[in-house]
Point group: C2
Chain length 112, copies 2
């Protein structure tokens, strides 16, 4: 697997893991969260190492496809950053800017 993408993948998993099958969730969780090796997961499940590898590859693709289509991770991150920006405006007692930023967030939500 590509270790560099793990952080992104586990982040996306928080959103779309619920759409996966039980087996996909089990292998994913074993591999990315509990640091089992492919060989260990394969032995525990009574399948080949290749089967686990293929399953994990397919899961990664599914998760990336969901994010490409629904963009939940990106959208929620954008809303969260927008809210931080509203808080910063309020801390500066700039009410007009805070209102403007809230309206921008509302627009982002409506376009979704």
């Amino acid at each position: 697997m590509n270790i560099e993408n793990n952080e992104r993948l586990t982040q996306i998993y928080q959103f779309y893991g619920i759409l996966l099958t039980d087996t996909q969730r089990k292998y994913f969780s074993d591999y990315y969260f509990d640091d089992f090796s492919l060989a260990e997961i394969a032995e525990n499940a009574g399948v080949s190492r290749q089967a686990v590898f293929d399953n994990l590859k397919r899961t990664a693709k599914l998760l990336e496809d969901y994010e490409a289509k629904l963009g939940l991770a990106d959208n929620f991150a954008a809303i969260d950053q927008g809210l931080d920006s509203v808080l910063a405006s309020l801390n500066e007692d700039n009410k007009e800017q805070a209102i403007l930023k809230i309206q921008q967030i509302k627009q982002l939500i409506e376009e979704n």
Copy 2:
């Protein structure tokens, strides 16, 4: 079809329609947005009325399953209402309440 649920279904479709197949999207759009009858959709597509009916039933179930699992429509509605509530607090010049409400929205996002 159950006419009473149409509004909810077309609302959910805005979020998850992108996850459907082209045919599912076509029938759904013809039926719910363009008011074609089942017989008309069937004739245009060269399939049976029953096939269109079954397809629409399955699409409705898929959309409801996605919303039950991901809750996008409900979550975005909750965030949008929360933002309206922040705006109301700002209009009343109640900065502390506005900040509290923003933090509640951020918590809602993080729990997602």
